[in-house]
């Protein structure tokens, strides 16, 4: 597994997060990341997918009515993960077709967070802390793409 591309697509539902973590952890382990790094990559991807499910795919309407899914739309809310491996790094692209969000708009500050009363915004902090590169783009055809990269040697 020195070079290669893996594609995984699941419905945008939290019940699939455990499967997504398993897949990502398995790939990261097999390409040779130490256990510690595997756990971090796993968590970053879990947080990114959680955000897609809980924020990008949640309509204003749903947000007002207690975060309920519209089940009939489920099929249009896939979580798509593309994992690319080469000699120097693992690149994980997460694509969704929802509202989208550029995490570079958020500058997570743990000290401020800990001092504040509000919870939330920890997900992007985790993603940025654990991955070497995090880039967001929106393309009308592809949707929202969050690209996360981790190098083998840091």
């Amino acid at each position: 597994m020195v070079e290669g591309k893996i594609f995984l697509k699941t419905p945008g539902e939290t019940v699939y997060l455990a499967l997504i973590r398993k897949v990502i952890a398995e790939i990261a382990k097999r390409v040779g990341f130490p256990e510690e790094e595997v756990a971090r990559i796993e968590m970053a991807v879990d947080e990114a997918c959680t955000n897609v499910i809980e924020h990008s795919y949640r309509t204003e309407d749903e947000m007002g009515t207690g975060y309920e899914w519209r089940r009939e739309d489920e099929v249009d809310r896939p979580v798509e993960l593309r994992v690319k491996i080469n000699r120097e790094k693992i690149s994980i692209s997460l694509t969704d077709r929802g509202r989208g969000f550029d995490p570079s708009q958020v500058e997570p500050d743990l000290e401020k967070y800990l001092a504040s009363v509000s919870m939330g915004s920890l997900g992007i902090y985790v993603i940025k802390t654990f991955m070497d590169e995090v880039r967001y783009s929106h393309e009308p055809a592809a949707g929202n793409v969050l690209r996360m990269v981790k190098y083998f040697k840091t």
């Binding site: 973590r21 959680t50 743990l110 902090y125």
Partner: protein, 118 residues
Amino acid sequence: MIGCEISTRTFDLGTRIVQVVDVSGFLDAHTSSQLENTLNSLVEAGDYNLILDLKGLDYINSASLGLLMGIAKRVRPQGGDIRLVNLSEKINKIISVLGFSKVLKLFDQTKEALTSFK
């Protein structure tokens, strides 16, 4: 086991009552509301001395860590606390690296955590 299992044990230390919440499986966006409900019920019932026993926990997400810090903020002004025990190496490192161990008190064993409440 699929998902997450949560149960509560009560310890009467004479001076204080401590609730030990055992969590196993994983805490992600699919399961964390279970923990939220359990902890909220305890706090609402006036239980401010809490130990979270994470033996058997494989994964914890940021929202769950945020929840624990939120609980800490609620019970500390009441003289209580929430203390974590039996963390796996994996979860221990995650919490430390993210800087949350500055806020959340971690113990190796339930005994130690119980004693710390006396």
